[in-house]
């Protein structure tokens, strides 16, 4: 099994997420992570879907996704040719005695402290999956109170844009005779 990152442009309409999630579960494809958000075009949303499948099933995933009427375009992003980021926020135990230590560790990962309480620090960190995993390993000994993580978002390197798209094809509607 290998991990593939799919960028999926979809029409920004109610129910699209349910359609896509339903398709994955019904065809037995596993989603590692999924992130949805707006794009520069308000009528289009972009999903970044990370799937863990073999090559042939991947082709099925994209072909089946393509059959959804609201899916406009699918691009597989190659991790060597794209920037992939996830966002994590972690609430770590930290009091007067070890706060300095915790802050040092956070600095090593270029994390950002976004909230401080007498007995915890909340850190925000972005990066790829490896970096976030390493950071969690370092924080664990201090005691993680709470952790939240976004799905991955990714964008290709260089000046090419995947959202530039051909104008939608207009189909004439049959008129009654």
């Amino acid at each position: 099994m290998t991990v593939h990152t799919l960028s999926v442009l979809v029409e920004n309409r109610p129910g699209v997420l349910a359609r896509i999630a339903g398709l994955f579960s019904r065809r037995g494809f596993n989603i590692d992570s999924l992130a949805v958000g707006p794009t520069e075009d308000s009528s289009v949303s972009r999903m970044t879907i990370v799937v863990n499948v073999e090559e042939t099933p991947l082709e099925q995933v994209t072909k089946q996704l393509n059959k959804l009427v609201e899916v406009i375009k699918i691009v597989e992003l190659d991790d060597r040719d794209s920037i992939e980021k996830e966002l994590m926020m972690v609430k770590v135990k930290a009091d007067v005695n070890n706060r300095g230590q915790v802050v040092d560790a956070i600095a090593l990962f270029r994390g950002k402290v976004v909230d401080v309480a007498p007995d915890t620090i909340t850190v925000q960190l972005t990066g790829n999956a490896d970096k976030l995993r390493d950071f969690v390993a370092v924080m664990e000994p201090f005691g993680i109170r709470e952790l939240v993580q976004s799905g991955m978002v990714a964008i290709g390197r260089g000046s090419r844009s995947i959202t530039e798209r051909a104008k939608p094809l207009a189909v004439p509607v049959e008129q009654p005779a």
Partner: protein, 590 residues
């Protein structure tokens, strides 16, 4: 359509959402709708009362859905059904799933609770859009009445274009009641939907090369050839090349059964010649078929020596189950026409395939292992005989609609099909109860044709309430109940794989219900037949009735089995043409 209503379309006249819906359906060319009203869809039934669209009031929404399917297949157009919210809509689930599996173009219109109540568990609320997402080609929920004409236009376009399928349009009651303006769109644009119908010329060249190089090719013809009306082109291709043809359960009628190149139906209950034809081929030319498990048997031993050309309008079918050498995305009719042109050009250059040994081999298999059956020793009625006679007497211009089970397999084998869209059945989903309502729909679409439902006594008891609809609406279908007093197909598996332990397959339907009385109660003619000597006369009697439905209770021998058979999950090499009898192939002929 009158000139006046056509000119309405550009004015954007003020109407209710319900009027807009009915006008949209009229503009989409709808002539017949099968349905049942209820609270949420009620506003639409008011303008429907004045419309020239014929609404056929069915007795169960499942009947409306299957009727729309039968109508669509028989006419080649889009079938339409209508239901109210909640239970009305959920009753359409089975027909929608059925149409999705068999790529039947249909539009289902359902009422939904008012927009403000959606999500509150309101009376008769069901999230039918959510429920039907996996079993429709696409579906819509309309809450803004201004969207109605566009959505209806899109729904019909989606249902019939590309790979056809069912589309559901769920309309909130509030949208039906609101005031809006009606304007029929002149164009639609769906940015994520562009079916490819023209095949790629490079793939056609590659396919042509493989066809000429192969020595043991076979045309594996699926339902896509019927949906794309490709039967003429298919016959040209077959006769131009001499390549043997197999037609799947969904493609029966796409190629004449009487044609010498026809090997019959492949698959679990396929003919020995069709199964062997695929199994021993060196090139499978798949035309609108999908390598379904009922055709391939165990995939890893299916046609091990064959290269594959796979032509389909749906790219997701290509390579899904079987690896492909030449993929061709396109409409079957265009693909076949292009292949005919390319192969004709080759022939003019003197390039033809050499299939002589192969054609002789499959012809030999076909001769040695014809379809057959044992006549019951006790003089009781063989179900296969009934279907042979029905085919002979009613003929190949009739439409035959089957339920699901043994009778379906006998109907596909022992009735001779010569024309497309004359065989209608539930292939992918295998829905018991399909036959009566689908036959009703077919008869509405093709009133001049004789329409026979060939049903099992089990299936018939699932949807025979539509006989009331048929009698009242003047839809004189004919029903041949192949009454073996059991859930025969399941019983056959119990005979073969469960040591004859007949758990819950005995229906006792030679006793209860009395099908003749049941027919009578519905205002239909009821006939009964249990002796081979009476079969012809009974069928002829049924043929003479043309004003009301006829039900014939053919009381057949209960132990008849469907042969040939490849047990589920095993290799096609393990086909038996009768119990315990495996064919022997003289491979030297190859």
């Amino acid at each position: 359509m009158t000139e006046q209503s056509a000119s309405d379309s550009s004015t954007g006249e003020s109407v209710t959402g319900a009027q807009s819906l009915i006008k949209s359906l009229e503009h989409a060319g709808v002539k017949d709708i099968f349905g049942i009203p209820g609270g949420a869809i009620l506003p639409a039934y008011d303008p429907l009362y004045d419309s020239k669209i014929r609404h056929i009031l069915v007795r169960h929404e499942q009947g409306a859905g299957h009727a729309a399917q039968g109508y669509a297949v028989a006419t080649g157009g889009v079938g339409v059904c209508m239901a109210t919210s909640g239970p009305g809509a959920t009753n359409l689930v089975t027909p929608l799933a059925d149409a999705h599996m068999d790529s039947v173009p249909m539009v289902a219109v359902t009422g939904q609770v008012g927009a403000a109540s959606i999500g509150t568990d309101a009376f008769q609320e069901a999230d039918i859009r959510g429920i039907t997402m996996p079993i429709t080609k696409h579906n819509f929920l309309v809450t803004n009445p201004a969207d109605i004409p566009r959505v209806v236009a899109e729904a019909f376009y989606l249902a019939r274009s590309g790979r056809p399928g069912p589309v559901l349009v769920d309309v909130a009651k509030s949208a039906l009641q609101a005031q809006t303006s009606f304007e029929w769109p002149t164009e639609i644009s769906l940015s994520g939907y562009r079916p490819v119908t023209r095949p790629h010329s490079k793939q056609i060249r590659e396919a042509t090369r493989l066809i000429l190089e192969s020595r043991r090719p076979v045309l594996y013809v699926g339902g896509g050839t019927i949906r794309s009306r490709a039967h003429k082109e298919l016959r040209q291709l077959a006769e131009l090349t001499g390549i043997p043809v197999v037609t799947t359960l969904m493609a029966r009628g796409a190629f004449p059964d009487s044609h010498p190149q026809h090997l019959g139906m492949p698959g679990m209950h396929g003919t020995v010649a069709a199964v062997a034809g695929l199994q021993k081929s060196d090139l499978i030319i798949s035309l609108g078929a999908r390598f379904d498990d009922r055709v391939t048997g165990a995939l890893d031993s299916f046609a091990p020596g064959a290269k594959v050309i796979h032509a389909d309008i749906d790219p997701a079918e290509i390579g899904k189950n079987r690896a492909v050498d030449v993929p061709i995305v396109g409409d079957c009719r265009e693909v076949i026409a292009d292949l005919v042109a390319a192969l004709t050009a080759e022939q003019e250059q003197g390039n033809t395939g050499d299939y002589e040994g192969w054609v002789k081999f499959v012809a030999g298999v076909k001769m040695r292992y014809p379809l057959g059956y044992d006549t019951p020793p006790d003089g009781t009625l063989a179900p296969q005989y009934v279907l042979e006679r029905l085919s002979h007497i009613s003929g190949p211009e009739s439409i035959y609609v089957a339920g699901v089970g043994q009778h379906q397999m006998w109907a596909t084998h022992f009735i001779q099909y010569e024309n497309p869209n004359t065989w209608i059945n539930s292939g992918g989903l295998g829905t018991m109860g399909f036959a009566v309502p689908a036959a009703m729909g077919a008869k509405v679409g093709r009133p001049e044709a004789t329409v026979w439902a060939v049903d099992g006594d089990g299936c018939f008891q699932m949807t025979n309430q539509e006989l009331a609809t048929c009698t009242i609406e003047g839809i004189p279908i004919k029903v041949a109940v192949i009454n073996n007093e059991s859930l025969g197909m399941v019983r056959q598996w119990q005979t073969l794989f469960y040591e004859g332990r007949y758990s819950n397959t005995d229906l006792q339907s030679k006793r209860i219900p009395d099908f003749v009385k049941l027919a009578d109660a519905y205002g239909a003619v009821g006939l009964s037949c249990e002796s081979p000597a009476d079969v012809d006369e009974t069928i002829k009697k049924a043929m003479e009735v043309d004003d009301v439905p006829v039900v014939v209770d053919f009381r057949v021998h209960r132990d008849a089995m469907v042969w040939p058979m490849v047990p589920a999950g095993t290799s096609n090499d393990d086909i038996n043409y009768a119990r315990g009898l495996a064919p022997e192939f003289e491979e030297d002929d190859l």
